[in-house]
């Protein structure tokens, strides 16, 4: 059986993730591919290190799949997230969503990435020329959030 929700320390094959959700009833597949960006707020990243609480992270990815099915019953979802050392432009995550109609495929896909950034226990450490930092919030920009994670995220 194919595993739809996976954490891996190997390079991710986009085709492999996409082919988990392609099926005769669905005419639309969207993917989100998160890659390692070199510059964040003008600061140059050399490489990244991703760490995960693997067993729980896979459970949370599967839960996002369940949440999507509740909202978009016809959607099929597969998510693979990579951990370990990643270089600039390496693929960190691939989310594939197939639906009969394309609007749902975009919306469900975007829902998935937003939820990953809220509830999946994966952490990114940035390595710069002059230091390192664990990136600690869901908004891509600040080191640590001001606000506490909201109740609805504690599922």
């Amino acid at each position: 059986m194919t595993t739809l929700f996976t954490i891996t320390d190997q390079p991710i094959s986009i085709e492999e993730v996409v082919h988990k959700v392609i099926r005769p009833e669905a005419g639309a597949v969207t993917t989100f591919i998160g890659t390692v960006r070199e510059l964040t707020n003008g600061k140059r990243t050399l490489f990244l290190q991703y760490e995960a609480y693997v067993s729980m992270a896979e459970k949370m990815l599967a839960q996002i799949g369940i949440e999507i099915k509740e909202r978009w019953p016809e959607a099929e979802v597969a998510i693979t997230h990579r951990i370990g050392r990643l270089e600039i432009s390496d693929i960190a995550v691939v989310i594939a969503v197939s639906t009969p109609h394309r609007k749902d495929a975009y919306e469900a896909n975007r829902y998935a990435i937003e939820r990953i950034k809220q509830i999946v226990p994966i952490w990114k450490k940035e390595y710069w020329e002059d230091g390192t930092e664990w990136v600690g919030n869901q908004l891509e920009t600040k080191a640590y959030p001001k606000g506490k994670p909201e109740g609805e995220d504690v599922v």
Partner: protein
């Protein structure tokens, strides 16, 4: 006994990724406070998962529980 798991900067700060502790019948909140005080940590933005599910502050821990301290996540 209860197993505590640490990740990301917490693992580096505490210097361990795993601790065993006799914390049965403590609440999640009390455990967080004890840990914050023992290691001089600010755990305000750290979530707690018990047996791989997010837990509320007043959850009472039981022997055998695996308690993970989850700093703000940054996957994706």
């Amino acid at each position: 006994m209860i197993t505590l798991l640490f990740f990301a900067y917490l693992k580096e700060t505490i210097g361990k990724e795993r601790l065993q502790l006799d914390a049965s019948s403590m609440t999640v909140k009390a455990l967080k406070q004890q840990l914050a005080s023992d290691y001089g940590l600010d755990l305000q933005h750290v979530m707690v998962a018990v047996n791989e599910e997010y837990a509320v502050d007043d959850r009472v821990l039981q022997a055998g529980d695996i308690v993970a301290f989850i700093p703000p996540v940054s996957g994706g």
